[in-house]
């Protein structure tokens, strides 16, 4: 039999087959399924499986709530990602040189990253409470009078609230990766202490940054993708409110599918999201020089 004549040839396919089967089952099959459904008119009340043509897709372009949710997502990425990157880098520099107790500091600082995002959101919801939460209390000390800020309700404060929580949870992730990257750079180049500011910036710009860029680019990509799909923290803090003000694309898709039961339309949104993300990621990978 060929199986015994060429054991290696089949062996390597046996090894990948369970993984590929699962990926097709969960990845490709539902994707194809949803593409078919997106051309129908199914809602939870109406199981009309006749083909509706492009109705759901033309609806996408007229749906201002959808574009709003994409804008909210972009807004959160645009604020949180640079802050996490810069703060994480600064923290990595702070702990780059050896100091007694460094390991303990690092271990404590990474704790937020390990916590479930839904718990992180819940925790900040408790912290942000206008009356019993400690944040308004602390702000009150500085202001000299009670601060009754409604962090998760006030339209001017909901984005800062979400972004604070997001930054708190994920800056340590950036910090840890960048600390590892910086540690691999030649020590004499990263010495910030003994050289003056101008020389520090020059060496950072032309020597350190190119050296850590491959790692940094991947960290940015990972965090960018995670921020694009942000759901848990917002669900815990605002559930997309007030109104639809903090509705991100993940929240909106969820609401359409599991609150409004617009089955076919949600399938169309899911398909749009996948296409959009594929385009952005491909562009980002090329742009960042990650493609081999």
């Amino acid at each position: 039999m060929t199986a015994t004549a060429h054991p290696d040839r089949n062996f390597k396919y046996w090894l990948v087959s369970p993984a590929i089967f699962l990926l097709l089952l969960i990845g490709l099959f539902p994707l194809a399924f949803s593409l078919v459904v997106s051309f129908m008119r199914i809602t939870m009340l109406e199981t009309d499986t006749s083909f509706a043509g492009l109705v759901n897709f033309t609806q996408l372009f007229k749906d201002s709530r959808l574009w709003g949710s994409l804008f909210h997502t972009a807004l959160i990425i645009a604020i949180a990602l640079p802050v996490e990157l810069v703060l994480g880098l600064a923290m990595a520099y702070l702990f780059l040189d050896k100091m007694p107790g460094r390991q303990l500091f690092v271990s404590l600082l990474v704790l937020p990253t390990i916590i479930s995002p839904i718990v992180a959101g819940a925790t900040w919801r408790l912290l942000f409470d206008n009356r019993y939460g400690p944040i308004n209390q602390i702000l009150g000390w500085f202001a000299g009078h009670p601060v009754p800020a409604l962090w998760t309700v006030n339209p001017n404060l909901v984005y800062p609230a979400i972004v604070f929580c997001e930054i708190w949870q994920w800056t340590p992730f950036m910090f840890l990766i960048l600390l590892a990257a910086l540690s691999n750079v030649d020590r004499s180049l990263t010495e910030a202490a003994e050289i003056d500011g101008a020389r520090f910036w020059r060496s950072f710009r032309f020597i350190v940054l190119p050296a850590i860029w491959p790692v940094m680019a991947i960290a940015i990509l990972i965090r960018g993708l995670d921020l694009f799909r942000i759901f848990d923290i917002i669900w815990a803090l605002t559930e997309g409110g007030p109104g639809t003000m903090t509705e991100t694309i993940s929240i909106y898709t969820f609401v359409q599918g599991f609150r409004q039961f617009e089955t076919s339309y949600t399938a169309a949104i899911a398909f749009l999201v996948i296409v959009l993300l594929t385009v952005i990621v491909t562009w980002a990978i090329r742009r960042m020089g990650l493609a081999k």
């Binding site: 390597k12 090894l15 990948v16 369970p18 993984a19 590929i20 699962l22 990926l23 969960i26 990845g27 099959f29 539902p30 399924f33 949803s34 459904v37 702070l94 100091m99 404590l108 704790l111 390990i114 916590i115 479930s116 995002p117 839904i118 718990v119 819940a122 900040w124 919801r125 408790l126 409470d129 019993y132 400690p134 708190w168 800056t171 990766i177 590892a180 990257a181 540690s183 691999n184 491959p214 790692v215 991947i218 993708l225 694009f228 759901f231 848990d232 669900w235 815990a236 993940s250 898709t253 969820f254 599918g257 599991f258 949600t266 399938a267 999201v273 996948i274 993300l277 990621v281 990650l290």
Partner: protein, 279 residues
């Protein structure tokens, strides 16, 4: 400061670094402190104005309620789902990674396709999967969620393990083959022991992904296999008297992860940095 002698400047700098480090730790750890201490507070302390910064006495009433009502069982569900799916993802992922690393199975195209699966937003996956599972009768079952978690973790496991396996010298495997080992024996006795630290690091991260999941569990569970993350959100709502439960439930769900990460810590830092370098 330029007038100071070198060693004095060095001391000042070190002191400043400590000040900043302590300030950072205060900011980043305070929310966790608040969550943990709230789980030990009495209702009077939780709803005190101005807020009480630490509980007067450690009391476990908030936890007792969770165990009495059976809510704490959701942590058990999370544990089963995360452990079993990590187990399968590690097995299927590692053998696939071995095939990709050593035989270049499917070439670069297969590898890129696999990692592109990781970029799919969960919300775009979960909707079609939900429709699929309704049809199969897999909603609110262990099987359904375990398969989903396993599949969702696979790209990560394959990607990481491929990097670790490529770092193992090929000569070791070749000499084992010459000695008459079968392919499977080589994988078991040579490759896996060599990739041990990579296996541990990858397994911990895979476990944490599944453990932290909220969206999949929110959509695909009802009452039978509710995870702790979904259970926490059941206490949200208009009435604020569920705060004690939110805090206690969150702590119950956080402790296993803290323990897993703490015991595996020495593998993790290497895992993160190597994984990032390898991409």
């Amino acid at each position: 400061m330029s007038g100071l002698p070198f060693h004095r400047r060095h001391d000042v700098r070190l002191a400043l670094r400590y000040v900043v480090a302590v300030a950072l730790v205060l900011v980043f750890v305070f929310p966790i402190y608040w969550l943990f201490t709230m789980s030990f507070k009495t209702p009077d302390e939780i709803f005190a104005f101005p807020p009480v910064w630490y509980p007067r006495a450690i009391q476990f009433n908030n936890y007792r309620v969770l165990f009495k009502d059976g809510d704490a069982a959701t942590v058990g569900n999370s544990l089963i789902l995360a452990t079993v799916s990590t187990f399968f993802a590690m097995i299927f992922g590692t053998v696939a990674a071995y095939s990709l690393a050593r035989f270049k199975t499917g070439g670069e195209n297969l590898a890129v396709w696999i990692i592109s699966q990781r970029m799919m937003p969960p919300v775009a996956i979960v909707f079609p999967v939900f429709l699929f599972y309704v049809w199969l009768g897999w909603v609110d079952t262990y099987v359904g969620l375990i398969i989903l978690y396993t599949a969702f973790s696979l790209p990560y496991v394959i990607w990481m393990m491929r990097g670790y396996i490529e770092d193992i010298p090929l000569e070791l495997e070749e000499s084992a083959l010459v000695d008459g080992c079968t392919r499977w024996a080589v994988l078991w006795k040579v490759v896996l022991p060599m990739a041990r630290s990579g296996l541990f690091a990858t397994a911990v991260f895979t476990f944490v992904f599944a453990w932290n999941d909220f969206l999949f569990a929110l959509v695909l569970t009802r009452t039978e296999v509710t995870t702790y993350t979904v259970q926490v959100t059941h206490y949200f709502g208009g009435q604020s008297n569920f705060w004690a439960k939110i805090a206690a439930m969150s702590v119950l769900g956080t402790i296993p992860v803290f323990v897993a990460v703490a015991t595996m810590q020495r593998y993790l830092v290497r895992g993160i940095s190597m994984g990032a370098v390898k991409g």
